[in-house]
Amino acid sequence: MSLKNRWQEFKVGLTPRIKEWRFMLKRMRGSSLAMAGLIIILGYVAMAILAPVIAPPQSSDPFAIPLDKEIRVLQNEQPTPPTFRHIFGTTQYQFDLFYGCIWGSITAFRIGVFVVAISLLVGLLVGTASAYYGGILDETLMRFTDIIIAFPGLILAMALVLAWQQPTLEISISLSLVMISVMVSFVLIFVHPDRRLLAMNQLVLLLGLASSFFFPISISIPLNNLDKVLVAITIVGWPGYARVIRGEVLRIKNEDYVEASRASGSSDIRTIMHHILPNSIYPLLIVATLDIGSIVLSAAALSFIGIGAPEYYADWGQLISRSRFLISDPTLMVRNIHTFLIPGLFISTFVVGWNLLGDALRDVLDPMLRRR
């Protein structure tokens, strides 16, 4: 078939999906809460992108909050209230709050997006396989996820932080290829599961796997405590996604069109990618959006206790952790309220934004309440 025809076919296949998305966007625009959420998130995106401009880094590591050495000489322990030099004031040990909050937005995105992306992928794989193939595979996988869900995640985070010394992340080129192809296939599910594109994608996957034997090139990135915490949260987080997608796939598995697809000879992969997943994935997206907020909160809580971002790191939870000394002497709280009020406001509005979006998505994507 000529390229032009392929393109036409592709566009035709795309039309119903586009119509769905247009409808969804229209509903979203109508909801003021959804718009508010979106604006908040975009605001933080802007803050993250413009961080180097608004708060120029003062050392090689942009995430190291600058210390005000002058004041530190005078009064190390006491946080200073907002002044002209330090717009939001400083915390205990004289870390500039303004810098910390601005760069903290980048950290927050990093926390939320990475954890959710990986949890989602793993959960998706496990949940779909479990639900689709059923039987013993389903039983064992579900018992396994049950155990992980019963596991107190905080403990795992603590253990990882304390026990895992000098972790580094080795990114290999081949692994990147594999992951890229996985993400591309993910996108293709939504857009248009075209057989040739999928085949090309699988080729990239094989290329990645093959090159891991012949060209093991990798880049090492050192991880700090915060990353260990993120790994812990991911490990205990993916079963939640697995359960959600499993529920959906089980529901859809018995629908007539799935049976029709299999009866007409589609392979398992095709049935899953083309029929089951596009219809079952929406609740997962809703959970993911809401989870970004939750995860940022969990990471902040861990940083607050002391497990998580290092002392100098630009992370909102870590900033509030600097105010822990106030708990032992609550009479100082009013005077130093800026040390926890401001970073807390950042965290809260960030999470509120994602929660508003997720809630709106849930309303929009609920098939029962749609189109009324």
Binding site: L33, A150, F151, I155, M158, A301, P330, M333, G344, V352
Partner: protein, 346 residues
């Protein structure tokens, strides 16, 4: 009803299996530490130990043995009630749990019913007045509540209500009351301050305890009620669209009866599951809130134990919270089967 019994037995078997799995996993986490590090747990007086001494401890307690052996040994100890020695509190882990549990229990005792009943009420109202101001207000408030970090809310509340107003102090009891309950005249029947106060005819103890509870409870309720409202609302909306609601209306029943008798009971089913998990989470958690308010319950113990590398304490806490989680799951499943007769067949 025979169905119900069989169902419960099946779930109990699964419970044992899951508990074993969780404990194994938790134990595996501790194995991440070197044997030398773990050896310190068995040593009371760290200063007197050197390299060889530590190695001796390692050999003595078999800290290099294969996983299954160490796990088996540990499990055996646990089943006999010996959970090890908690260095951060200088008492056996089992004792630590026993003394600290009542404080966590007090918080949950107040927080859980408030969350559940307020959540159900507001959720139902939200659903009935869908898209009205009531609905929007409760949804926005609940989204905001769910988005707040618990430690932040706690600190803000402390600032306003303690620092500024001095109404509700942190900690479990004020100093005078603490002296009173520690005195030998004060009989500890339940080890729970609120109840013991009344049982000892000292209502001022009870009132003082409650006064100290208000802020932590408010913190938790603010954050968790949101989830319940949301789930109740969506469940209620879904139920109100069901065919049998049309039948109920067609029978000439009043709106109140249709909503509260027919719709709500069906809508409560997913909420029951959530409530169970919520209570379990509360009983096994509260780390942050207790730390912020200086409340000597299980949560703050776990938090300080983790930072202080108090391995047995962390292990004991993990086992406890897993157990609570699993038992709560079981109770919820039974409740579910009771409410919804269809489940009993599965």
């Amino acid at each position: 009803m025979a169905n119900l019994a069989a169902y419960i037995i099946r779930r109990l078997v699964l419970l044992v299996f899951v508990v074993l799995g969780v404990t194994a996993l938790i134990f595996a986490v501790t194995m991440m530490f070197d044997p030398q590090v773990r050896a310190y747990l068995y040593v009371r007086n760290i200063q007197r130990m050197d390299e060889e001494g530590i190695e001796g401890v390692v050999m003595k307690y078999g800290l290099r043995d294969p996983f299954y052996m160490q796990y088996g040994r540990w499990l055996g100890e646990v089943l006999q009630g010996n959970l090890g020695w908690s260095q951060s509190t200088s008492m056996p882990v089992a004792d630590a749990i026993r003394t600290k549990w009542p404080y966590t229990f007090q918080i949950v005792l107040f927080a859980a019913p408030i969350i559940i009943f307020v959540g159900i009420f507001l959720g139902v109202q939200s659903a009935i007045h869908r898209n009205d101001p009531i609905d929007h207000a409760s949804r926005v408030l609940s989204i905001i509540g769910w988005s707040l970090p618990s430690f932040w809310v706690g600190m803000l509340l402390l600032t306003v209500f303690y620092n500024v107003l001095n109404w509700f102090p942190p900690g479990p009891l004020s100093r005078d009351m603490f002296v009173a309950v520690s005195s030998p005249n004060f009989m500890r029947y339940t080890h729970v301050d609120i109840f013991d106060g009344l049982l000892n005819l000292r209502p001022d103890v009870t009132i003082d305890a409650i006064r100290h509870l208000i802020l932590p409870v408010v913190t938790i309720v603010t954050i968790d009620v949101a989830l319940l409202i949301r789930v109740m609302r969506s469940s209620m909306l879904e139920t109100l669209n069901k065919p049998y609601i049309t039948t109920a209306k067609a029978k000439g029943l009043s709106k109140k009866v249709v909503i509260y008798k027919h719709a709500r009971r069906n809508a409560l089913i997913p909420v029951a599951t959530l409530s169970g998990m919520l209570v379990a989470g509360l009983l096994g958690g509260l780390m942050i809130t207790e730390t912020v308010f200086g409340y000597p319950g299980l949560g703050s113990w776990a938090a300080s134990a983790a930072i202080g590398l108090d391995m047995p304490a962390v292990l004991g806490y993990a086992v406890l919270s897993a157990l609570v989680f699993v038992v709560a799951n079981l109770i919820v499943d039974i409740l579910y089967a009771y409410i919804d007769p269809r489940i009993r067949l599965e």
